[in-house]
């Protein structure tokens, strides 16, 4: 039996100040090649789940293991984010002062030691998302669809095992939504990645192997 990439065991996340329990009693395993959509109404805990899966947040109860071990501090969590996981956000979150090629290189600091290797790898990824001609452009000079494709290339920078995407098509028109979704699925299949996508859109959810429905912080049966 192989160790799951990410394993949630009876996880709870409570926000004490707001007196809100965003997630409770959640157990989940993500293995290589898994793909599922997380659906649910606003406030159901979708984003909280994604943050926990991405080692960006810590549960208030229960355990989360990444490749079998629990991170003990911020540095270990950062290492998990850098090496195991690639993120795609709804608002792209590209760094406005850096070009497309440079944005893709940001996660590689600390993982790919040589600057020349970082650049070569970024060029390759840019080519994979068909945006080589935008290498020297700043995010502000690109369309929403292009920005999200750059963000996808950045998520793949360190060759992760898991892609976490939070409403990846939420800020895009229908044409660009379809393109971005096709690209994500194509890359997932090509690299046998695990992929978790948070979405409101049932059509998007339907493109993945299974759907996890959340309601009031619990998985709906």
């Amino acid at each position: 039996m192989t160790t799951p990439l990410i394993q949630l065991e009876d996880v709870e996340r409570t926000f004490a100040k707001a007196r809100v329990t965003a997630l409770q009693g959640l157990s989940l395993e993500i293995e290589k090649g898994d793909s599922f959509a997380v659906c649910g109404p606003s406030g159901s805990g979708k984003s909280t789940l994604l943050h926990l899966l991405g080692a960006m947040d810590t549960p208030t109860a229960g355990r989360i293991r990444f490749r079998g071990s629990e991170p003990e501090n911020a540095k270990q969590q950062a290492a998990i984010r850098a090496e195991l996981i690639g993120f795609v956000f709804q608002s792209f979150h590209l760094l406005p002062t850096l070009t497309a090629l440079e944005n893709i290189q940001v996660p590689m600091f600390g993982v790919v030691p040589k600057s020349r290797d970082r650049k070569e790898r970024a060029k390759e990824l840019l080519e994979n998302v068909s945006l080589s001609h935008r290498a020297a452009h700043l995010p502000g000079e690109m369309s929403g669809g292009e920005r999200q494709r750059i963000a996808i290339a950045r998520a793949l920078a360190n060759d992760p095992d898991v892609i976490l995407a939070d409403e990846p098509t939420g800020n895009l028109d229908s044409t660009n939504s379809a393109k971005v979704l096709d690209l994500l699925i194509e890359l997932r299949e090509a690299k046998d990645l695990a992929m978790v996508v948070v979405t409101h859109d049932q059509a998007v959810a339907g493109r993945f192997d299974r759907t996890v429905n959340l309601l009031d912080g619990r998985v709906e049966d």
């Binding site: 960006m56 290492a79 984010r81 440079e102 996660p107 600390g110 993982v111 600057s115 939070d166």
Partner: protein, 379 residues
Amino acid sequence: MVFLAIPLRNLRQRRLRTALTVLGIAVGIGSLVSLVGMSRGADRAFILAALTRETHLIATRKGAVDVLAVSVEEEVGRQIERREEVAEVAGELLGILDVRRDGDGETLHMIVTGWPNDSFLWKSFDLSEGMIPRPRWPEGFEIVLGENWAGALEKSSGDEVELLGYPGTVSGIAISEIVANRQMGFMELSDLQEIVREPGQISTLNIRLKDPGTMESRVALCAELEEEFPELSFYPSEELAAESAALGFLRAFTGANSPVAIVVALIVTVNTLLMSVVERKAEFAIYSALGWAPSRILRLVMIEGVILSVIGGLFGVLIGWAALRWVASLPYLLAIETTFDPVLVAVWALAIIALGIGGSLYPAWRASRTRPIEGIASN
């Protein structure tokens, strides 16, 4: 892309903020450079002036805080001159006198020194024109103007000049590598004594030794002389600056103001970086979300701080140096030697880097504590 490209790009993209921070640091460092430069330059000007006159020892009234305010009997010089080790003694009277500038009629204040007409002090004295002053009182007086004063008053030898309301003649113009000599007036001792109404009185005694010996031997001789002449203080010329009360005040002033300038530069750096860190919280959260360890974010902000300090410090040194040169060129201010001092430059360089590191430490720590979800909460 190398790591350094990211902080550089951040600073370049936020031009106005970068420019204002650089300016703030430059002003702080600039004032520090000019203040310290003034104090050190004045020390150096005093020492060089004494050394080039071949004065080995200086004597002043014991306990005199200001040599301009107290006087010594000229006769004491002749007694000192009888000592075997002493080659020559020249009395010197110093005063700050009003001088009227033709044209605008403005009254300026000139440091005037009076030396005996036949003393050794005149031997190493260079004139670009004219001759050394002769005793003329009561038919007026003669004065050699340092070249800065000649320029400021637009005078050349033979021109008339008015000191303390007495008319006199410019007998020559002094040129010198020594700033102090360019920024003073030089008169015959007895004429100056008459003008300031202190006949037979002097401010200091310049003592030339037959054998200058070593610093230790000169210090030992000073101790002997102080025993013989208990009303006087003796010290080697090299210690002139340390013994000068006026320069002591300047040093105290500089010492009191330098920390203020450093604190100003430090506050500017901390304030700007802190504001920048608060404003860029989302950006740091993205770095963190993409796997940057807290230490890498800390390094990013600290590098930005050091870059700002280095650029600001560089401009500051240039501004301070320019201000110092300007002050040194004014004839009616303190004599300042603006010599290039590589040790001081190294100290400045280290201080500027320390400022960058010190000023960015707290903002960088704050940035490094940013949690990834703080910047992507909008999702």
